[in-house]
Amino acid sequence: MDWNVIARNLGFMAGGLVLTFQLAALAIGGGLLLGILLGLCRVSSVSWIYYPSTAYVHFFRSQPLILVIFWFYFLVPILVGRPLGAFPSTVVAFICFEAAYFAEIVRGGLQSVSRGQTMAAYACGLRYSQVQLHVVIPQALRNMVPALTTQAVVIFQDTSLAYVIGLREFLRRVNLVDTREVRSVELYCFAGLVYLVLCSMGSILARRLEQRRGAAPA
């Protein structure tokens, strides 16, 4: 065992975390925005809004993420006519893929608000947009917090899949160090520990958020 291999390459590996965080932040932010839009479409009673959004969600949820990453990397340049680069194409792939999962969380959240609540709001003379904005969405968001944070942690881990098209995020860099130093046990233990610590921090943060939101009793 030579644990010094970690100290020797720490700077190089930590540099990969920057890319990991960038990718995760863009995937979560973009995915959530597109997901909210899709989620609202998924509870629509208008068929030309409901069916396409449903088809989108179904499609992406039945594809492996790694395949979606490949597609955007190899397919989109052909469609667009020029190479997009590994990072932008991965970001787009993540956003499109994760939006499908966020959409289902958002849909569940919107549907968790009881019909009595919307009836009470309408009964006061409020309009659709006011009912959604002041009554439905605030309650839906609160109900969605646990599922949203779980999904965010999953996305953080999934960013490691970007190595398949050569993006040098954290895990890819650990892998590169290993091919040079041949210290698999030490290096992959270290990588596991890093993910464990970061995701635990994420979970703790999430629980804090939940408790704060829970302060206003239901």
């Binding site: 009836m119 006061c124 006011q130």
Partner: protein, 242 residues
């Protein structure tokens, strides 16, 4: 004030919930509708402010047809208060915000105006000290009184009550009924779906017994209790009055 003319309502599965009923509620009157559960009372009530769409007949509120496509339902609902069995206060807002939301968003009142009015109403329903509290911290009776205050904040021309005391513990029923009795005596036009026959006796002008979507008995209060004709009404009354 409220005219119900030969209204029928079917659910999507084809069940007929309200079957050709008619009634007229004049300004300042209180009408109590009672009947077994599933008899269409609540559905009929929701037809009055357009929360439920009926297929046949007509309902006029202050001369305006609820089902006409040219009617602005939002404006109409702003004039009719509604109180629900399960209160339906907004759990993420304080009592004060619950009461001021609609006056601010629909009536375009300033926060200051709306809050002054809200405090006045909380006084009226007897819980001025609960303004800053969230609904979850209140008892059922207090929540229902807040819900009544929330409706009154819109200064409605009429109020609909959908089993307002059915979800309450017995010791809390009275505090809610007291508020409703006051309201009825102050001249509010009220349609109340309820089994509280004591309340009906005290303030109702007319009592309707509804079963299977129909008005089985519809009489001025005194004669409803003294001489209900239909055996079903008598059976129902004998069951809930004992």
């Amino acid at each position: 004030m409220i005219q119900i003319r030969q209204v029928s309502l079917w659910y999507r599965d084809g069940r007929k919930v309200v079957d050709n009923v008619s009634a007229e509620i004049r300004r300042g009157q209180t009408v109590v509708i009672c009947g077994p559960s599933g008899s269409g009372k609540s559905s009929l009530l929701r037809c009055i402010n357009g929360l439920e769409r009926f297929q046949e007949g007509e309902i006029l509120v202050d001369g305006i047809s609820v089902s006409s496509p040219s009617t602005d339902l939002h404006a109409l609902r702003a004039e009719i208060g509604m109180v629900f069995q399960h209160f339906e206060l907004y759990p993420h807002m304080t009592v004060l915000d619950n009461i001021t939301l609609a006056p601010r968003k629909v009536r375009k009142k300033t926060r200051q105006e709306a809050e002054t009015k809200a405090m006045e109403l909380l006084n009226r329903v007897g819980i001025p000290d609960k303004a800053a509290v969230y609904p979850g911290e209140l008892s059922g009776g207090q929540q229902q009184r807040v819900a009544i205050a929330r409706s009154l904040a819109m200064e409605p021309k009429a109020m609909l009550f959908d089993e307002p005391t059915s979800a309450l513990d017995p010791e809390m029923i009275k505090e809610v009924l007291d508020v409703m009795v006051d309201l009825a005596r102050s001249g509010m036009t009220m349609v109340v779906v309820s089994h509280e026959m004591g309340f009906a006796r005290e303030v109702a002008d007319e009592v309707i017994f509804m079963d299977a979507g129909r008005f089985i008995e519809k009489k001025a209060t005194a004669s409803f209790f003294a001489s209900a004709e239909n055996p079903r009404t008598r059976e129902f009354l004998s069951r809930i009055l004992t």
